[in-house]
């Protein structure tokens, strides 16, 4: 990276961007510098509102009518683009600089075939013949590894899956051979195993096409896997830049360090190495503090050094590669000091059985009213949302249900809560069978003792009711208290419990941040002293530092009250951090279940193996075997016969997988795997994760000798 002989593609110098609103000028990005060389990938990392997308939009000169570049320059191949005319911009966009967005479906025109949309690029930018445009588009689809490119060329966007759509979008971006590719959270909308494939493709692009990339993400693990260098942004400024190795192992800015402390790295553990949230909140752009923007949230803040004067980017001495930080005190800070309080929690012994699920099935009827279906007598089809689920959960235990979209975890939650009734099997909760009792028919105590925390912070609270009103309602409804003063007291104590100020009582949800709303959601769930709480992806929509705070809060309350927590998630790194036991589901069936340790080490179910391999890890001392699944998630309406996973399985052994439901192999009292492969063979599989030096060479004996990921 020190090789200055390489030509820079993009040079951003002292860039300042502001938005102009009725309230006046709001600075979005200040004093931003970045150089991207040919064929280089740079990760732009930060939480929402830090200005990373604004930078990308500025490079495209697409800031909208109220945004503007108020200072500095953006040079693309040596030419300042901040003063280009509309006509010149049109030539540049899409041909020399291309952008890939988060939602693939929104990036494609639903009423044109994919072929027509792809061919447009060379037809318009280069004026080639139809024939050549077709050939090149087809070739590019093959290059982004879409199976059967001819079929895809003729297809409409809705006829292919989300992952395939994103590949088409990438192909479209690459068709004009851009010098620079901007990727704005390109995999956030995709499932984990699909994401893994796209990330692999993105990592190859730079080598194969020599395209420079700016990869915008909030996920440090993804940046590690795709980028050479990283630029960490906070509140409109770059706070640290450097190579992945430097920034990940020798970070020199308290915010970067805070980020790493807040994400569940494999070394974190809920008992002795808890996550450390960054205190405070991201300042609003017009309320930024004087001096260091991170000052108010920083443990090392010192008046006079960090403020009131602005802090400039400085080179970190002793680094071989350019490594800069915007910390005034980086030489004085002990970077090896452990984060957090060092508080160690005793592991809790799980108590008696709270929940027993035995052979639970949930089928939905799907009526096909077409004449053909009626004639053939196949008028009714079944969606097998849950197929013979059996597992249990004990008091004070955290059981995680893991799976991708369509795996049936949400249906299961609905049946548990009594919004749906089971088709077959039993669910015993605190000794009562509840599988066929709807919530309205359940006794009040039973309803109160099983509550839920929801996923979307913007959706979890009624926007027209005050926070206090919503929590009070639960307390009254469950008969915890009925006297107005006592109800009010209890709401106040619940607000204390979730660490929110008491005057939030009269606030409305829109006056709260995402993390605060989620805390109110937690308070509401715990208002009726529940024995079990179901948390459906409670932190996945939150920013990294807030995620840590909410996760820790949930764990703390759960520990204190001895609550059973059923944690539904697709994110295995969070699950590893907080779960005692894990249930892995795929298309409505349990593939594997066991303690966290058992699930994370061999023997694995092949699906678990692929899921683990798909987890991006932001720890440079750990590497993993790459297993990228072929194909798409099958539809739940028409699931594969036999083992549901056989269509994508990298260890499929033959016909038997397609015809027969796999047997449940028992590895231990707690560990079960549903697979046709004998247990000994699964046992012999190498671990997905292995330790490496920071330069990437495996250490110890755990390194894989061969790729086991073959078809």
């Amino acid at each position: 990276m020190t090789d200055d002989a390489r030509t820079p593609v993009l040079e951003i110098e002292n860039l300042c961007i502001s938005y102009f609103t009725r309230a006046g000028e709001i600075p979005a990005v200040a004093d931003f510098n970045l150089t991207v060389y040919e064929g280089e990938s740079i990760g732009l990392v930060g939480e929402s509102g830090c200005g990373k997308s604004t930078v990308a939009m500025a490079i495209m000169r697409y800031l909208g009518s109220n945004g503007g570049i108020v200072g500095g320059s953006i040079k693309f191949k040596g030419r300042d683009i901040t003063h280009l005319s509309d006509e010149e911009l049109r030539k540049m966009r899409g041909s020399e600089v291309a952008m890939i967005y988060q939602e693939p479906m929104a990036a494609l025109n639903p009423s044109l075939t994919i072929g027509a949309q792809l061919m447009e690029v060379p037809l318009i930018h280069e004026g080639v013949s139809e024939q050549e445009a077709y050939e090149r588009s087809r070739q590019m689809l093959a290059d982004v590894k879409l199976p059967d490119p001819d079929r895809v060329m003729a297809a409409y966007p809705h006829q292919i899956s989300g992952g395939q759509q994103q590949r088409v979008v990438i192909a479209m971006a690459l068709l004009s051979k851009p010098a620079l590719l901007l990727l704005d959270e390109p995999t956030t909308a995709l499932d984990v195993t699909v994401e893994a494939g796209i990330i692999e493709l993105i990592a190859e692009i730079a080598q194969k096409f020599g395209t420079a990339q700016l990869f915008i993400s909030h996920n440090l693990g993804l940046v590690r896997e795709t980028c050479d260098r990283i630029c960490v942004m906070y509140s409109g400024e770059a706070v640290e830049t450097g190579t992945i190795a430097d920034v990940f192992t020798r970070m020199r800015h308290p915010y970067t360090r805070g980020l790493f402390g807040a994400i569940p790295l494999p070394s974190a553990n809920k008992n002795d190495r808890p996550l450390v949230a960054i205190p405070g909140q991201l300042p609003l752009p017009h309320q930024r503090p004087e001096g260091c923007n991170f000052g108010p949230r920083c443990d090392y803040f010192r008046e006079g050094v960090c403020a009131p004067q602005a802090v400039a980017m400085r080179d970190v001495s002793g680094a071989a590669n350019p490594h800069q930080t915007r910390c005034a005190r980086f030489e004085e800070i002990d970077w090896d000091a452990p984060l957090g309080t060092g508080q160690v929690n005793e592991p809790i012994e799980p108590g008696e059985l709270v929940l027993v699920v035995d052979g639970m099935r949930k089928y939905y009827e799907l009526h096909d009213r077409s004449v053909k279906a009626m004639l053939s007598g196949e008028g009714v089809k079944y969606v097998k949302a849950n197929e013979t689920l059996s597992f249990d959960a004990r008091k004070a235990e955290v059981v995680a249900i893991v799976g991708e979209s369509g795996c049936g975890k949400s249906t299961f939650a609905k049946v548990l809560m009594g919004l749906e009734t089971a088709t077959e099997g039993t669910i015993t909760f605190n000794g009562d069978e509840i599988e066929s009792t709807e919530v309205q028919q359940r006794p009040r105590e039973q309803v109160a003792s099983m509550q839920m925390v929801f996923q979307n912070p913007n959706d979890t609270l009624n926007p027209s009711m005050t926070v206090g009103g919503q929590i009070s309602r639960v307390i009254r409804k469950f008969g915890v208290e009925s006297d107005a003063d006592k109800v009010h007291d209890r709401v106040m104590r619940l607000l204390d419990m979730v660490k929110l100020p008491r005057d939030f009582y009269h606030r409305r949800p829109r006056q709260l941040s995402g993390g605060q709303k989620q805390r109110v959601g937690v308070a509401r769930a715990f208002a009726g002293n529940p024995a079990m709480v179901i948390a459906d992806e409670p932190v996945s929509a939150l920013d990294v530092s807030v995620q840590a705070a909410v996760t820790e809060l949930l764990m703390e309350i759960q520990r204190e009250h001895g609550t059973t927590l059923l944690f539904i998630s697709h994110d295995l790194s969070v699950v590893r951090y907080l779960a005692d036991r894990i249930v892995v589901m795929y298309l409505g069936q349990i593939m594997e279940q066991g303690t966290t340790e058992e699930v994370f080490s061999p023997p694995y179910h092949p699906y678990t193996e692929a899921l683990l391999s798909a987890v991006p890890i932001a720890d440079t001392t750990i590497d993993k075997r790459k297993i990228v699944l072929e194909g798409n998630l099958p539809s739940v309406v028409n699931p594969p016969v036999g083992c549901p996973f056989h269509t994508r399985c990298h260890r499929k052994i033959g016909k038997i997988c397609e015809t027969t439901r796999p047997p449940v192999l028992v590895d231990s009292d707690t560990h079960q795997i549903a697979c046709h492969i004998p247990l000994e063979e699964l046992q012999a599989v190498l671990p997905v994760f292995f330790a490496v030096d920071s330069d990437g060479t495996p250490t110890g004996g755990g390194a894989p000798a061969e790729s086991t990921a073959g078809g």
Partner: protein, 298 residues
């Protein structure tokens, strides 16, 4: 968590509903269009309320027929600002008093139509299934009828009275309101806070009225303003067709009807009542635009 010893936890000051309503009305200042609309509507409302003080003549008194605007009544010395009609009643006074009728029956009929439409829409959108099928088909059937034929049938069968006008408007407007509410409910019922209410075993009526309806209020308030405009037109049209409230009390539509034969010679007899109707409808439409504008900004 502290024990209950800290019994007196101070309750932060609470805003009354009235204060919050006033504050959200103040938001309207952001929209010039909405301000103009609100001004027009407010002017008509004040005129109707203070009609006895504002009107120069008794609206039903026959004084001098066929007076042009600006003519002076020789006995009292008052001016007929907008002239008189064919039997000699002051048109300005009749318009001011006529506003009362529109501004009483319009809101009542609209509100009543909303109660029915909201109930139908919530039930159809929340329960779906056969509730939705039945209610949607019923409203489709009503909407497929030519509305004025309906009015004529209803009012000519049961006679012209305030109640019948309200009933006719409920019958004609509720299906449209039901469709809007149903659409909003179908969207809102999938929110997590509705699921939260369901999982704590709330009664469906509570969920519909507390969790769903208040969050649909934005679009509904805008629609109510527009619909009040349509109802104003409808009341005017019914008056014109002779299906409005019985004479002699002034009615804008009725005034146009009574004098329409004389329009070529005395245009003022019908122009001013028509202007009254259009200005109120325009005001309501502008107000609706303004409300929509601020609801998008919020």
């Amino acid at each position: 968590m502290a024990a209950s010893t800290e019994a007196a936890i101070p309750l932060p000051p609470r805003q009354s509903g009235l204060v919050r309503f006033a504050r959200s009305l103040a938001l309207l200042r952001e929209s010039p269009v909405g301000m103009v609309g609100a001004g027009i509507v407010l002017a008509w409302a004040l005129a109707a309320i203070f009609a006895p003080l504002l009107a120069p003549f008794d609206p039903n008194a026959t004084i001098l027929p066929f007076q042009r605007p600006g003519a002076v009544d020789p006995t009292t010395g008052h001016t007929f600002w907008l002239g008189t009609d064919k039997i000699g009643r002051d048109i300005l006074s009749r318009i001011i008093y006529g506003g009362r009728r529109v501004l009483i029956y319009g809101p009542i009929a609209t509100a009543a139509a909303y109660v029915v439409g909201i109930a139908m829409g919530l039930a159809a959108g929340y329960f779906r299934g056969w509730w939705d099928a039945v209610l949607s088909r019923v409203s489709d059937i009503v909407l497929s009828f030519p509305i004025f034929v309906l009015y004529v049938i209803v009012i000519s069968t049961y006679g012209a009275s305030g109640l019948n006008i309200v009933l006719a408007i409920i019958f004609a407007s509720a299906p449209g309101i039901m469709r809007i509410v149903r659409g909003l409910t179908l969207d809102l019922r999938n929110r997590d806070y509705v699921a939260a209410a369901q999982t704590r075993g709330e009664h469906p009526v509570y969920i519909m009225l507390v969790e769903i309806l208040p969050n649909a209020r934005g679009p509904l308030i805008v629609d109510a303003c527009l619909r009040l405009g349509y109802v104003t037109i409808t009341i005017g049209t019914l008056g014109f067709l002779g299906l409005g409230l019985p004479p002699p009390d002034p009615d804008w539509g009725g005034m146009v009807n009574e004098n329409r034969a004389l329009a070529p010679a005395f245009p003022h007899m019908i122009v001013y009542p028509c202007l009254a109707i259009s200005s109120l409808v325009l005001g309501l439409n502008l107000l609706a635009d303004g409300l929509r504008e601020i609801s998008i900004k919020d």
